[in-house]
Symmetry: C2
Subunit: 140 residues, 2 copies
Amino acid sequence: MRRAATVYMYFPQRPSAIYDVRVLIELDHASSTPLYEQVAAAIRREIAEGALRGGDELPSARTLAGALGINLHTVLRALRVLRDEGILDIHHGRTARVVAGASADQALFHQALGAAAAHGRRLGLSAEDAARYLTQAYGT
Amino acid sequence: MRRAATVYMYFPQRPSAIYDVRVLIELDHASSTPLYEQVAAAIRREIAEGALRGGDELPSARTLAGALGINLHTVLRALRVLRDEGILDIHHGRTARVVAGASADQALFHQALGAAAAHGRRLGLSAEDAARYLTQAYGT
DNA sequence: CGCACTGTTCTATTTCATATAGAACAGTGT
DNA sequence: ACACTGTTCTATATGAAATAGAACAGTGCG
């Protein structure tokens, strides 16, 4: 869950209103994990939390890049990662959509897999060995 | 689990003997994970599997570097990583030793695997599919 | 159709972690 | 004393990540 903050700011278009702002994506340029991975993880989390649902349209890559203050190509790389995971549906002239079947569960699954893979790598286990252990854990 | 191989080789110092060789550390120069992390992971695994126990002495960094065909500084960096994790005890003129208490990593790994398996089952994924996704998440 | 969007592809450049190399230094134990 | 150990220093080569800009090609809408 992302922290929500009540922000006091004056919007000329909509005066006399106070908004509860939820941080959707927050990047850490100092982190060792690549920016494109951070973006992909953020979108996965949004899907997992239900903020993004199947069929939902994402903002264009250029829009995201502008809002996040990062390069277009960095965003596109993140989108491609999610496409390869079957989470996003990307076509040429259209904007990216969340795959219908890509429920919150699928995003959570990939999130859990990523954590498990990280632990496995830390232990020096090969991908094959980790996969074998997962199959074993499945049977339980 | 590391594969064990029976190797046929003639040692003049010890003739008439066949050895069962277990690969302790194997590096992949093409991998995206840094060499020093691979070395650290290998040592973590040896500890997790009981091949290295608390108080055990490691070979000198120069010896390891020579045997692995990598640079001294790369090995030293791996050792420093493990020292910062409280796994190794390193002092100036002495060779590194394994700290007495070590490794909840393996438990964490299996814990993460269990969570991933639970999610996979919830999605109706087969064990084979989940294992395939894990291999993909591993990335190499 | 015309137009403004979309993602795609290409070349180039900058930056930084990784890895290498070699030398000199300083602590440890026999 | 001596042969080992890790430590520290400078230097260089390499590749991934990120940026930048341009041109290309598909989509949807008035």
